[in-house]
């Protein structure tokens, strides 16, 4: 009996303290960590079309089309397929890709979730946070050469 009363006292205590831990979402947007990985932003000015992001992407989310001069023509990102692993941002040698803090996007069909480079450029910053200021992309993993022969893939 005492246990039952204790249980009921516990929930009543929570009811009476008036605190809530859920928030009213669109009005009261959550704080996002500086390292948070959201929708990509792509900067064509910086991109050198090295295609490293395309090859490191685990599930072919990034598609790059080049002309025969190896100049970039298209940069497409199937955002609905992206798993936000941040490997593309990590591998990019010129900070052309940034995963912004923006996690709010929606679409009615799958096709609308495929973004081209213009759309990616126009991804808004979330609450004006520039992730580059907040986090230094750590490229330690990408300049590692190991003990053996250097492999410039």
């Amino acid at each position: 009996m005492i246990g039952l009363l204790k249980s009921m006292a516990t929930t009543m205590k929570h009811a009476l303290d008036g605190q809530t831990f859920t928030v009213e979402y669109p009005e009261d947007t959550p704080e996002v960590s500086p390292r948070f990985r959201g929708v990509h932003k792509f900067s064509q000015e910086r991109c050198i079309w090295c295609r490293q992001c395309e090859s490191v992407c685990p599930n072919d989310t990034i598609q790059i089309v080049q002309d025969d001069q190896r100049n970039g023509e298209q940069y497409n990102l199937h955002i609905g397929q992206c798993i936000y692993c941040r490997l593309c941002e990590e591998v990019c040698p010129v900070d052309a890709i940034l995963l912004t803090q923006n996690f709010e996007f929606t679409a009615d069909t799958k096709d609308e979730l495929a973004y081209n480079k213009e759309q990616l450029k126009n991804v808004p910053w979330y609450k004006d946070i520039d992730p580059l200021e907040a986090r230094e992309p750590d490229r330690g993993a990408w300049i590692g050469e190991g003990e053996g022969e250097v492999d410039y893939q």
């Binding site: 516990t10 960590s33 390292r35 490997l87 993993a141 590692g144 492999d151």
Partner: protein, 560 residues
Amino acid sequence: MSLEKPVPDAPDEVGVTEDGLDYDALEELVSEHVIDRESHVNAEALVIRPDAVQDTLSALKEEAGFDHCSAVTAQEYEDRYESIYHLKKFDDPTQQLSVVVPANKDEPVSESAESVYRTADWHEREAYDLVGIEYDDHPDLRRILLPETWQGHPMGKDYNQNQPQVVPLREHVNPLAEDHSAGEDSDTMFVNIGPHHPATHGVLHVKTVLDGEQIADIDPDIGYLHRNEEQMCEQSTYRHQIMPYPDRWDYTPGGILNEWAYARAAESMADIEVPEYAQVLRTMSAELTRIAAHMLALGTFGLDVYGDFNAIFMYAVRDREAVQNILEDLTGQRLMFNYFRLGGVSWDVPEPREEFFEKIREFLDGLPEYIEEYHNLITENEIFQLRCIDTGILPPEVAKNYGATGPVLRGSGVDYDLRRDDPYGYYDELDWNVVTEDGCDNYSRVLVRMREVEESAKIIRQCVDLLEDWPEDDREIQANVPRTLRPEADKEVYEAVEGAKGELGIYMRSDGTDKPARFKIRSPCFSNLQTLPEMSEGEYIPDMVASLGSLDIVLGEVDR
């Protein structure tokens, strides 16, 4: 030091010597069946005749003490099929042995190990389903992950991806046509619990035969979430591309613990040394995820036993949220962390460091109060005790035989925790305890999780202290690992870590390229779920639901 495992009273096991296993003695023990010997990274392997599996394994189990069949890996080579039984000991999981059973390419048949290790039942069904090896003497060799109408075995070499994979029911034996009722005058009733049911924690289908309210027969049907993650990993590079996937097996979130399983296997295969500072970071983040995962387990168990208006779920989620906020600061995501890299972690703790440590400490300081609240709300509640004590009994011997691990096994009183018994990371330097409960019932399993949260908090606190005092010029978070990792061909490794649900093992075989030739996941939930019939036959439906909740399965990890 609290981390000493109680020494078992030195059983007379073949092959045990002062300095590790004497594989020659083991080979001697089953010499009449052995045709070859291989060397895997983690252990030696005996290649045996396919018709002597039961003899060999039972000799190894009875006389050499290999009582834990961790996993069964099946794979196809150019010239043969192969099943590997990864054997361990519950007393000392560092003593490992692999038993390789080759099978004929044209007619892949080998003897089933089901009569020796009950756990081999589902593992062999999976091997049959995905690779196509047939097991003689298996009691119930059906497909397990794929639908019964599936054509071919997708991990076989000659599998044609382009052919229709599922044929219409009319072209195949219709699984629905089977009459489940046992005749007109039968007292039983067949009920499908799931795949969509409030209590199955995902898409699990439990075929249940009820006798009144009691369960006469029960058969979990899995595979609704199957995506063949193993094949996905086989198509990804070791160095970076595999790491995001383990997060998605156990999304409760056991992500970092899962990543560690892959990291451990790959590092052991490629012989990568992880810097100590990174090990501390790994240990801390992994224990944070363990708390988050156990909190969710507690909350959903509350849902199962209390009903959907109970407060526990929300309280547990509130505390889990605190952990996720910390993890978000550290890794950048709340569920799918992708925090580990081979040879280290991707990030040091965020600046300003003091603030981050303060945040963790604040959470840890609040934790005892929360746990007290849970005890008030749950474990001390008489009705809860009425419901959970002595229901869903899983005796330790049965649990071992089924290969149950993690809180499920520790709730049955078996002192087995890979963090201590097969140390990795920074665990062996820290002061913490392995939690066991002797009740073998639903209540013990819940209690084990709650107490493990406290132990994890202890570990995290020590890690934070260590990180805080770590000299600034020695904060190396990643070892020097080549950009492209190409382990030499034909290296085989099986390594396991203690995930949130139990022993999460990865088997990998290299073929000289930058992608694994075979990637096998030993999921703890998969083995744990197998014990459900043992626990719930003869019990009431509510107890079955509670047992299912106390097993704490994640269907993403069961089905992979």
